[in-house]
Every structure is written in structure tokens, then in C-alpha cells.
Symmetry: C2
Subunit: 453 residues, 2 copies
């Protein structure tokens, strides 16, 4: 099967654990059988591999997610990188063109698109497979998944099928209704639209060329910023006469709010947390190093991380976005392809961060115009490269990086450093990358020198 | 008036803001007219100075509180330092001997003892003054304050007076009763015992010499560790026939739990905090740098600081102690006479802290057996003294302190540094102080040298 996994959204509704660069699909909420924690993206990726070990999976994602995708899913994944945000129609067209022009998949092969983060059991992927087969037979241009509703939700779109059979034509689509209207739809046999569908690759390419001005994948990539902001549903689905819906009745949850997310969590507390015996229906998700003690609470979610602390009645936790928008806060923690960093202290003309570099990785070779930096290595071994000279470093070493010097660090074993940034204007924008290949950096790092530099 | 203010307790009941070295009386909860925040100790000290600008105030405190007392109340306060904890009888005797032998107060002068942290209005101090005058007249050996109860509390001791007059003999003392018994006491006219009393200095000295084996203040200080752990109530008050109680009906609150404390706070939120419109009777006290968002809560206190986060139903917040005892946590923040420090990161063989030195202050001249340290100065100016050589330092400078070197820093203007500690066994116990006078340190710091050291 050819999968396109749509990885979107900045996801402030799971603040403080999601932020502008850490979307909800990358937060590690779920305990695996092995005892580790995995994110929604990791869970879905693993489930697809289990359902079909031969599956070809391409992730359609904005370039800001590149680091975390590699970090969580490995270096060898296939990603259709969106240079900027342009809604789902351009994103799906770009990924489809990527499958055709880069991966050489033919126009008659089936493709299935689904979100990167539904909370589902393995039956979901069997239904996707059947949808793929149905599209492959050419029975319809588009085969949608229709999820049997379990309550009259106001959050989802509805598909009204022509029949109650497993596969059916579509008589209408309905936008997010109020609860009463939703209940009426459900009495008519309506299904939730969970955003998963299958098609033959050539169909979407043809429709795309009718609607958008581009030649091939490379041309679309260059012109991507000029593409219209329009959803796939609006551009294609709702206008398509040859369309079918396949019914799915297994587990399906959209874990987009703390309320729904905590329902799916197997553990009531994660991290350093204590609930006293008078708490009922309370969840704590604690990513801080310090303990949380909850006493005498009912129907509450507590979530704490480097960006802040949320304490909310579970029902009301769906309404956090406008409050979170007022924070306009600095990103305090980020996962990168090479490791991660965490802000420890923000001063008036200084910032202190903890940097972790995975073994065998290096940061970009870069310089700063308006700040010096001081690294104190607290664990691991590796090299610092400064203005093309290298020096080996290990725990206890101090490296001073004057304003303007080009520098990087390379981890031999996992390397942790306390980085103190010092200057009048400290900004993430003040970073000049100096293109140099990883091989060249490694060559410098391996060069024999006598004393440090 | 001669005041002895008793400053006791480690106060885990206000966790996470109180800890083993930061007692509740030193947390800055109260907004003053000037817009600054003051602690309970600062508030009471200021109230006494307002009621009687000539008052002689001595604070009876364990030596662990020395730094914070000077930090909050100034360098010129009078402190009777308890070398170790020995309950209130030895503490009051030591302070009384200090008044006699160090301050030269005569045996016929009156002394009033009260806790350092009652939440009261100014009328309280007028009553203390009347108690002092009553003791001075020799009407009784001890004059206690009896507080008119406002509810049948189970937390306080009760004094049963002989009459309902402003001043009365005492017919009995009652230990903390259950609520029903307390209500019966109150119907009999009982008063709360708030731990404030007055006496002529010579009376307590005579009783002390009858019960304890010591010559004078200096002798008692040396023998302090051998003194019995016994309360003043038990040793003296309950056995004294010549005793009176003076009635007080003004404001008096014991702010020992989050529930009572938040009742006295003028602001519902302190620090970076947001309550949504569906919160009722919710208080947030946030000492972290990150925001707290509370939604849809009722009767809840949220308190967050470097040691942890408490989210509790207000009623139940009185019962936190057993849970807090299980944390057994490292102290993450401390105020010292010279400034403060805060732990930013704890690694396997490293610890990173932020040190703030007040202008004109220095830390102890000391060394470590098992760790090196690296300072990166992030603001201010001053000097580092290492093995008796000095070097001037300012923002951006890096100072490496090898294992075993003797070192200190002196702040010219307020000095902030990131200190990275590195070693196999990092412990607060690994600190060897090297006695050297402050004058000598300053002399070294002022010595002209040519290049750094």
C-alpha cells in the first residue's frame, strides 16, 4: 500500500506540551508494551508497519517538522516537505506528485491518505487496505472512510451515505453541525468524516493539473508559495460525482484536546506526580523535573512542561486556545534531528540552555552576529569545530565562542552541554548557517592535531 | 518595649514554597502599599516598629535562618542564635539571657514574647504593650494573651479565664480539643492561646536557673545541645500559680496552611497566572518563570515554585505534610545573606545553578574536594578571588575553578553567574570553608594587579 500521512497543525489545544514547533502528534503520551513512551505519530507509523510490512509510507509535513520527524521515526523515512503552509489540497497534490516523480509510482496504483495522529486499533488499517483495493478496482474516483458515530459531536464533518451497506455512494456532505442537527444526521445514518480516503494516483494528478498551474513535482515545489490556501475536501471531494464511502466501526478517536487525550491514556499520572486518595477522574502529565501533588480534585487535568502549567476542568480544557494565544511565549524546549535543547534561564542580556547532541550527530555549522557563547560540557565526548579548527571535548571542558566565529559541536558519545549565550540582543533569528558538508566537518574532526585546536 | 520574636519551624505545610531551609515566615506573600511584596516576618517586624519606634527587638532563631533574617530584615538586627533545635523553653531562656547579659537589660524590665508570624492588625501590638505594663507592675509573674475565638478550632490550645474581664486570672489550660469539646470550652468563655506572653526578665531567669544547669548566656550557648527538648508552656506556664490572661478581640490569624493563607491574601493571583471566567474561589501563587492557566476550577489553591507544584482543594490543603515528606527532595532555591541561588539543572555528574550576589557582598571563601566549577558571569561586575589571587570579572567572563582551589566572588554591582558544578559526587556537604576576614578578601580584591590574576 502507498500511504500519505498528513502531519499538520501547530496544536495549541494541547498546551503546554504542544507549541509552535512541537505539534501534538509528536508528544510521547503512550506507554508501549516495552515500557517506553511513544508519540501519536510513532504509534500510527508502527501500526502501519505491523499491518503491512511492505507499505510505502510518505509523510506530508511542513519543513519545520523535519527534525522531529527524523528524530522520532528515523533517518530513512520518506517525507514530502512543504516549503510553507498551504492547507490540505496543495499538500496532498505535492505528496502525490512526489510519489509519482520521485518514487516512480504509476498512475494506476492506489494511494491512501490519512492523518498522522488518529487514535485507532489495527482494524482501522484493514479498512484503509480495503479502501485502497476498492479505489484500485476503479469503482469510484474517491473512496472515503465513514466512521460510525458514537455521539452527536459538533467537532466533525458528516458524510450522508446512500445506503447502510459496508460500501455505498454518497448523497451529501455536512459541515460541523450543532449537537441537535448532528443527532438528526445520525438518525439518517450519517457517518463521521475522519479525513481518510483512497484514490488512484493518476486521478489526483489530473484534477490537480486542471486546477493548479504546475508541470511536475519540482515545479510545484518551487511555486508552492503561490498555491491557493484551500482544503482537499473543498477543492476536490465535495465536487466529485464518482465517490464512495466505506464504513468503519472500530476504535477511532481524535485526541485533539486534553479531555479526549486523557481518556485514551492508560496511566492516570506520568512523570513525578502524586494524587491523594480524594482525587477522582484526575490526570497528571508532568514533563517538569519537579513533583506535582494533587489533592481533593475531581474531573481535572494537570499538564506541566517547560512552557507552562495547565490546571483545567476536563470539559473546559477544549477552550484553552484563546488564553494560550495571549502568552506569546518563547519556545522553551525543542527536539531537533541532532538532539534537543531546553531553556534553563532567561536573563536581561543572557540566555542559558541545555543542549543534548545524539551520538554521531552535529549541529549546523553557524555563527552569531550579536552574541558570544560559552559551552561547559557536562557529559559525553566529541569535538568542537571553531573557524575550521577542531578540538576534542569531554565532560568538564569549557569552550568560549566569540561573536562572529563559525562553530559546531559533534557528538562521539551523547554530548550534553550548558550553553550560556551573552549579548544585547539574543534572538533565534541571529544564526548564520555556513554551508559545509557533514563529511567535511567529520574530516576536520578526525584530523590529527597536537594541542586542542 | 523589649520584644523576643520566636522564629521556628521548617513549615512543610506551605510546600512547595516552604522547605527545610525556607520557613513559611520568610515567603513574600503580602503586597504592601508601595507595591512590593513582604514576608510574614517582615510584616510583623514593620508593625512593631510602627507601634513603637523605640522597641528593642530580638529574634530567637536557629542558625540556619541567619542568612534569610539578615537578607529580609537588614544587617543590624539583634538575633539570639540557637545552635540547634531545643523547643521553646531553652530558646526563650537563651534569648532572655541574651537580653540580660549582652544587651544589659535589667531583671525588673518587662519582656514580651510572641511568634514572628501572626497575621494581625496593629491593635495586637497595643495589647502586647498593655501586657508588658501589667507584667511590669508585678501583678503576676506571667501575663498571657487570650484571643477571643471565632470558631471551635481543633488546632489551638485554650485558656479558661476566671472572669470575662479584660484582665483575669487563669483557671485552667486545655490542649488541642476536638471540635465539640472546643465548642463547650468556648461556651465557658475560653480563649485561644496564641503563644504571646509578658514577664519581668528576672522571673524567667530565676525559673531557668531552678530547672536548667547553666551560669550565664555564654555558658548556656555552649551547653545548648545538652538542654532538654521541652516547651515553655509545659515547663513554665502550666506550673505557674501567679498568672493572668489579657483578652484580645482584634484580627488574629495563624497562616499556617494554604487554606488560611489564601484567605489573607489581597490578590487572587501572583506571578504569571491566568484564571478563566469559570473559576470560583481559586488562588494561584506562582514563583516559576512560566505561566499557569487555570480553567473551570472551584475552591482550589495552586502554588508553584522551584521545588514543585501543588494543586489542592483548599480544605484538603492542610493535609499535605505526609505527601511532602515522601519527596525528600533537594533544595532548589535558597536565599542567603549574600544573595540567592537557584538550581537550573541536575545531571548525573553535574549540577547547574544560577547565583545572585548582592552588591557589596561575597560568598564564603571555600573549596571543594570532589568537584570543579565553572562560572560564566551573565550580569554585573566584581572580583573572583582564587587561591588568594584576585581577578576582576564582568558579564561574559568565564572563571574555571579546579578541584581543591580556594575561591570566592565579590560583587561590586549585583553579580549574576551561571555556575556549572562537575564531579562524581556533588554534595552540599563538600564545602570546606577557609576562615578569612571580609576585610582581607576586600583587601585582596582591591590590590592592584596587572593582568587578571
Amino acid at each position: 500500500m502507498n500511504f500519505i500521512l498528513l502531519s499538520g497543525g501547530s496544536g495549541k489545544r494541547l498546551w503546554p506540551l504542544s507549541n509552535d514547533i512541537r505539534s501534538k502528534q509528536f508528544i510521547k503520551f503512550f506507554k508501549t508494551n516495552g515500557g517506553n513512551y511513544e508519540s501519536m505519530a510513532q504509534r500510527v507509523y508502527r501500526q502501519i508497519r505491523t499491518a503491512d510490512s511492505e507499505a510505502s509510507i510518505t509523510i506530508a509535513a511542513p519543513k519545520t517538522q523535519l527534525s522531529v520527524l527524523h528524530n522520532q521515526l528515523g533517518e530513512n523515512i520518506s517525507i514530502s516537505i512543504e516549503p510553507c503552509r498551504r492547507d490540505t489540497f496543495p499538500a496532498i497534490v505535492l505528496a502525490t506528485a512526489y510519489l509519482h516523480d520521485i518514487q516512480g509510482i504509476s498512475e494506476t496504483e492506489s494511494v491512501v491518505v490519512c492523518p498522522v495522529d488518529p487514535y485507532v486499533d489495527d482494524a482501522y488499517f484493514l479498512t484503509l487496505k480495503k479502501m485502497c483495493e476498492q479505489a484500485g478496482r476503479g469503482a469510484a474516483n474517491l473512496v472515503l472512510m465513514g466512521i460510525e458515530p458514537i455521539y452527536p459531536s459538533e467537532k466533525y464533518g458528516y458524510i450522508i451515505p446512500q445506503s447502510r451497506g459496508e460500501i455505498s455512494g454518497v448523497s451529501a456532505f455536512r459541515e460541523k453541525p450543532d449537537a441537535e442537527t448532528a443527532a438528526a444526521y445520525i438518525r439518517q445514518g450519517a457517518l463521521w468524516n475522519g479525513g481518510a480516503f483512497a484514490y488512484q494516483l493518476g486521478y489526483v494528478l489530473r484534477r490537480a493539473h486542471e486546477l493548479l498551474d504546475f508541470k511536475d513535482y519540482y515545479d510545484l515545489l518551487i511555486k508552492y508559495e503561490t498555491m491557493p490556501k484551500i482544503s482537499f475536501d473543498y477543492a476536490i471531494v465535495e465536487k466529485e460525482p464518482s465517490i464512495q464511502v466505506m464504513r468503519y466501526s472500530g476504535q477511532w478517536k481524535d485526541l485533539g484536546t486534553w479531555n479526549t487525550l486523557t481518556e485514551a491514556m492508560t496511566e492516570t499520572i506520568t512523570g513525578k506526580s502524586i494524587l491523594n486518595e480524594n482525587c477522582a477522574n484526575v490526570h497528571i502529565v508532568n514533563e517538569l523535573d519537579i513533583p506535582i501533588l494533587a489533592m481533593g480534585l475531581r474531573d481535572v487535568v494537570i499538564s506541566a512542561g517547560p512552557e507552562g502549567v495547565l490546571v483545567s476542568d476536563k470539559e473546559q480544557s477544549s477552550y484553552i486556545k484563546p488564553f494560550v494565544d495571549t502568552f506569546n511565549q518563547q519556545v522553551m524546549f525543542a527536539e531537533k534531528s541532532w538532539g534537543s535543547y531546553r531553556v534553563l534561564d532567561v536573563g536581561i542580556e543572557s540566555m542559558t540552555i541545555k543542549v543534548t547532541l545524539h551520538a554521531g550527530h552535529s549541529m549546523n555549522y553557524h555563527s552569531h552576529k550579536a552574541r558570544k557563547e560559552v559551552w561547559t560540557v557536562i557529559s559525553g565526548t566529541g569535538w568542537a569545530v571553531i573557524d575550521q579548527k577542531r578540538r576534542s571535548i569531554c565532560s568538564g571542558d569549557v569552550v568560549e565562542l566569540p561573536i562572529g566565529c563559525c562553530h559546531t559541536a559533534i557528538a562521539e558519545s551523547e554530548l550534553q552541554m550548558i550553553e550560556v549565550q551573552l549579548g544585547c540582543e539574543i534572538s533565534v533569528q541571529d544564526k548564520q548557517k555556513h554551508p559545509i558538508s557533514y563529511d567535511r566537518i567529520i574530516a576536520i574532526a578526525n584530523k590529527e592535531t597536537t594541542n586542542g585546536y
